[in-house]
Amino acid sequence: MRASHLLYLIVFSALVSAVFATLLRDDLRARVRFALGAFGAFVLAAIAVGWLMYPFPG
């Protein structure tokens, strides 16, 4: 499998968001809204934390 950090992040976020939305919301409309919000939060938080860590040496 070809390594792409962003692709893995997006796939992971989509799958986990779908499971959480199905567990925590009961109707389809609320599930979709929750899943989109959680997916966006996962991806944006990971990118934001990545940029915050950028100045620090590895």
Partner: protein, 135 residues
């Protein structure tokens, strides 16, 4: 219209709680399929199954670790074991060692461990449905 708690309680099947939880552990989503929550069951099967399959494809380490001298290894092993039959089948098929030098090794570990942790929540959800606490 929001469902009232007494209406959900009417459909409680306490006798189904133990088999539903066991099935949910053996195969992600199977507990919900057993309780006739087909949509939820198929989504859990697809999403958690995909997390596990992709984790194995990314060279995750599936070796069982029992003991407290390395608590983190013990906890991650427990998380993977929560996936049930797919975990033990993958081990039996020889995918247990993983490949620590692979660039995706840690991704694979994360995918498989999070899949197992999500399956614990799915098992608890199946229990709540069987007890009539959730629709």
């Amino acid at each position: 219209m929001a469902e009232t708690r007494p209406a959900a309680a009417l459909r409680a099947r306490p006798a189904a709680a133990v088999p539903a939880c066991l099935l949910a552990w053996l195969l992600p989503g199977a507990g919900h399929l057993f309780l006739r929550r087909t949509g939820k069951g198929l989504l859990f099967l697809g999403a958690i199954g995909a997390l596990f399959a992709m984790g194995v494809a990314m060279d995750a380490r599936l070796q069982m670790y029992i003991g407290f001298d390395d608590p983190l290894a013990f906890l991650r092993s427990l998380a993977q074991m929560a996936l049930g039959a797919p975990y033990f089948a993958a081990r039996a098929l020889g995918f247990d060692a993983g490949l620590v030098t692979s660039v995706t090794h840690e991704y694979g570990n994360t995918f498989t461990e999070v899949g197992g942790l999500l399956n614990i929540l799915v098992i608890l959800d199946a229990f709540d449905i069987a007890m009539g606490r959730k629709p």
